[in-house]
Amino acid sequence: MINVLPIATTVLAALLSIEPLHLDSYAVLTPAFTLMATYHWTIYRPDFLPAPSLFLIGTIQDLLSGGLPGETAVTLLLARAIVLPQRHYLVAQPFPFIWAGFTLLTGGAILFSWALHSLLAEELLDLRGPVLRTVLTISAFPIASFLLGRSQRALIGAD
């Protein structure tokens, strides 16, 4: 069971990120759920969330959201490439360190997306939305991390 959990939760994160929550402007500010799942599993179980699965999940999310196909895939793959070499260090750290690492990663990822869209639109796009989205993503990470960690432990117990 434990070996499908990372992929299953990341797929769920992709679906959640396009769920309408009936909140004002939520679509613009939806936290980057897939990035949370990718970061968590790349630290704790990178073998069960390999690069091709990140590519597929990212692509599916882009096709569903009607966004630029490939954007989320690139973001998740780069996140993996950055986090994977640090995982032996991170895995032994207390949560605040992990959270700080995620803060850096999210800032980078959302700035990357903003730069990409600005480049394609050939103008500097409004940064307020992306900044708010970064704040929401970072604030939501502890909850996501807690839920992912709990599900991981529950399944280890079951196996």
Partner: protein
Amino acid sequence: MRISPARRAAIERTSVTLLVVVSAAMIIAGKADQVAFQYLRNSVMDAAAPALDMLSRPAAAFDAAADRLRGFITVYRDNVRLAEENERLLGWQQVAMRLSAENAELRDLAKLVPDPAISFVTARAIGDSGGAYARNVIVNAGRDNGVARGQAAMTGVGLVGRVAEVGSRAARILLITDLNSRVPVVVDGTRQRAILAGDNSARPSLRYVDSGGTIRIGDRIATSGQGGVFPPGLPVGVVATVDSEGARVEPYAALSRVDYLRLVDYGLAESLPNPLAISARAGKRAESAVGGPPTLRR
């Protein structure tokens, strides 16, 4: 078989690099040719529709419960307001009936060809674009329910967007606020035409305004029917700001939280450019040009 750590690292590097290159190629291809991914998008949308539908239910149910609670709290005030409104509307009903009769008479006199029959499908939003750079929603009705490309998506109060992509059981609505949305509009009560252009902000802007006229805050904007995608006269919004860069329109419909949508078929959908033979199109137009009351398909 155990793979050595060095070998594993090499495999990891190669696969990540390769996949990043493929994704980058997809970004470029997707930007250059919007249609290239349409088939793929439709298939993924169709496949994910049941899961999205299920996942969106708790939020929708919560929303409904909150609405009901609000209703309980405001029931007395609402009742007073509705009674007043009813009184006023009864007066309007008289006016409408008189005008309708007069209109029918005049149409008869002028031998006017009746408007095509209007039918609509009500659908629920099950997906919202999760990004800062596009404005669209996925609804839980598709080709099987009679949804077709180009149909107008409305709420009770105004235009929301148009059906851009159709799967068999889900469809994607391009909102009028999206960067790619362009709607020919007219200032209500005048002949002043403009193009309502979305730019991903909450208020689309008016471009290519006819020279000579002025646009003022509070002017009502409706579709002009030019280009043939939308019928004329659909309410869109009111002019909210006017400055040196032009006017911006506040849509009537709350686009940032779309819930239920009416996808309306005005018999014009086939005028969107698509690979359909001209003769087939002409035939369909003639066939749908039958008057009648709106019918509910679903």
